[in-house]
């Protein structure tokens, strides 16, 4: 399975994933969470990964940063970042690779911040570890960083529980861009927030991306958000990619029935009201075939076997 590099910004991909397979090993049997997934992200490109809960998209994010823990393990495939083989990195190389090259914004900001350390100390940790700055210098930079995401630098002394949900997530975003990484992974960054704050956060991310020019792997199940933000996107189902193309192409003409269902399950932000359509009850896809190119840059898994939908 090969996908031509129709990357947005440049022809040099930042991240290249080939045939990635992740298994969860149980006592008696294993579950394949990610099954031969391949995609690449170009410099400055925003790549979206969509799919329902449990389809394996967060597992991919964790695999890229080698954060998977027992019982999950990478059973095959390759992850290359800027030409380096991520899976072959030693402990020290991996530690440097994390956050300097790839940073990540986790789903829940409340849970991803250490509750007993101030926001400032948690940012300072990044600078003192990776850049070798003194504590004073790190604090100065941390203040700048908070200003960048429009948080009062006085908040450096605050603990996570003293900030609002939106502020916490912005603080996490600030941490993520602290070392100006070339790839930022956003793992459902707005799921836990209300709609208004959601929009603020997304605007913030767009602005930072324009300013700093990093690539983004954007993971969500919210199709309208994704189409709005991403250049290119992939739709995952059951650990497989079922369709990938430019975001606007998928928006205009989703080809795979699952993509169609996913598009139908969210109300459009603008335009007339339409009834929501999801996947009919009991519909399941199995034996998802490899992708085939149907038009330039638009790949779909052909001939899905539909179960339960047919009478």
């Amino acid at each position: 399975m090969t996908i031509s590099q129709t990357s947005f910004g440049s022809h040099e991909p930042v991240l290249e994933i080939k045939d990635l397979t992740v298994k969860y090993r149980g006592d008696t049997r294993s579950t394949t969470a990610v099954d031969h997934v391949s995609f690449s992200i170009g410099t400055g490109e925003i790549f979206g990964l969509a799919g329902e809960s449990g389809c394996g998209k967060s597992t991919i994010a964790n695999a890229i940063m080698r954060l998977l823990r027992d019982p999950a393990e990478i059973a095959g495939g390759s992850i290359r970042f800027g030409g380096k083989d991520v899976l072959a990195m030693g402990t020290e190389e991996l530690r440097r690779f994390r956050w300097q090259d790839v940073a990540m914004v986790f789903q829940s900001a409340m849970n991803s911040l250490n509750p007993v350390m101030t926001i400032g100390d948690q940012i300072v940790d990044i600078y003192t570890t990776h850049a070798g700055y003194t504590r004073k210098e790190s604090l100065r930079r941390a203040a700048e960083l908070l200003e960048l995401v429009r948080i009062d630098p006085a908040r450096l002394k605050s603990y996570p529980h003293q900030l609002s949900g939106g502020m916490r997530q912005r603080a996490v975003i600030a941490m993520a861009v602290a070392l100006k990484p070339s790839l930022l992974i956003l793992d459902e960054p707005t799921t836990a927030l209300d709609v208004v704050v959601q929009q603020e956060i997304m605007a913030q991310i767009k602005e930072l991306q324009r300013e700093l020019g990093f690539s983004v792997l954007f993971i969500t199940h919210d199709m309208s958000l994704m189409v709005e933000l991403s250049h290119r996107m992939a739709v995952m189902y059951g650990g497989r990619i079922v369709e990938t193309a430019k975001a606007k192409d998928i928006h205009a003409a989703p080809l795979h029935p699952y993509t169609q269902a996913l598009m139908g399950a969210f109300p459009p932000l603008t335009g007339p009201r339409v009834p929501l359509t999801g996947l009919a009850d009991g519909v399941k896809f199995s034996n998802i075939a490899d992708l085939q190119e149907v038009s330039p840059g638009h790949f779909v898994s052909p001939l899905p076997v539909l179960q339960g939908a047919q009478p």
Binding site: F106, S112, P115, V116, T129, Q162
Partner: protein
């Protein structure tokens, strides 16, 4: 601040309960322990002693509430009466001469056990399936299963009597005058080794397992994953992120244990004839020295409550979330 005041109120209530318990016990116990005691000790007591004891134990004709108010007043102002077995030394004086030894023994043992146990727990959780994690817990549980006094007697026999490495009783040798000299201090240290070591041996497993299990739960938190993603060094993640959070329940149980140390060193003190409050309490019980018994119990309770209050204050410093409300 509100948290601290709430806790303070709680400790005051607890202290009031223990004073009241002390007041009620000799008055409402079945089998009339007071007359039993009088019968056994009358012939070796002075008339004024008997009078004081009558009042303390409620063998007088005043209404009970009047006795209670009187009793409360006496206890709060530290008038705990006169010891019978060491007549005419006031109870407070007897206690003052012993409480230091208990604090020394219990404090040393507790601090060592907690520090060593928690460190082992952190390491075991961090290296799951490693040597510390797989071999140590069953061994320590096994050691912890022995009755404490039995291990203490075994150690006393083996290292004290048979091998003669350590002194077998008391807190210091009779031949040395207590002073702040090196000679006296090292003598005290030698006397401390066996009792402290046996307490540590028995209690370290509990600390370790508690910390290990909390650490395992903490390691599954998102902020640990994020700390890893941040590329921090493992030592920093282990102590500043994981252990720092996992120690919070440990701090609470440290407060609890402080209490048990003051009262619980009793068995240790008995085995090693260590002149602390626990040893004295048993002597008071055996000698039917009720004033001393009550005084000791109140002192121990007060120490426990005070220790816990201090731990609460420490907890507020350690967990910013408590400060918020």
């Amino acid at each position: 601040m509100r948290f601290i005041l709430r806790r303070l109120g709680f400790y005051l209530i607890a202290f009031w309960v223990s004073i009241t318990l002390n007041f009620l016990l000799p008055r409402f116990m079945p089998g009339d322990p007071v007359s039993r005691m009088f019968a056994r000790t009358q012939d070796r007591m002075q008339p004024e002693q008997i009078e004081a004891l009558r009042k303390l134990l409620g063998v007088d004709d005043r209404p009970i509430w009047e006795q209670y108010v009187d009793y409360l007043h006496n206890m709060v102002t530290g008038q705990m009466g006169v010891s019978i077995s060491r007549f005419p030394t006031p109870v407070t004086e007897v206690i003052a001469s012993q409480v230091g030894w208990t604090l020394l023994l219990g404090g040393t043992a507790l601090v060592i056990a907690a520090v060593v146990g928690n460190l082992l727990g952190i390491l075991a959780a961090w290296r799951r399936g490693g040597a510390i994690d797989s071999a140590l817990p069953p061994f320590l549980i096994f050691i912890g299963s022995f009755p404490y006094f039995w291990l203490a007697m075994g150690a006393l026999y083996l290292f004290g009597v048979t091998l003669g490495w350590f002194p077998i009783r008391h807190a210091f040798s009779d031949t040395i005058e207590p002073s702040f000299s090196w000679e006296f201090m090292s003598d005290v240290g030698m006397h401390l080794v066996l009792p402290a070591l046996t307490i540590v041996l028995v209690s370290v497993g509990g600390w370790m397992l508690g910390m290990r299990n909390t650490m395992i739960a903490t390691n599954a938190e998102d902020y640990i994953t994020m700390a890893e993603a941040k590329g921090l060094r493992p030592g920093r993640i282990m102590f500043r992120y994981a252990a720092r959070n996992a120690m919070l329940p440990s701090v609470t149980s440290f407060g609890m244990s402080l209490g048990f140390v003051v009262g619980g060193a009793l068995l240790t003190e008995v085995v090693f004839a260590y002149p602390g409050v626990g040893y004295q309490l048993l002597n008071a019980v055996q000698g039917l020295d009720y004033p001393l018994m009550q005084g000791l119990f109140l002192t121990i309770t007060a120490a426990v409550l005070l220790a816990n209050f201090l731990v609460d204050i420490l907890y507020v410093r350690l967990d910013p979330r408590v400060r918020a409300n």
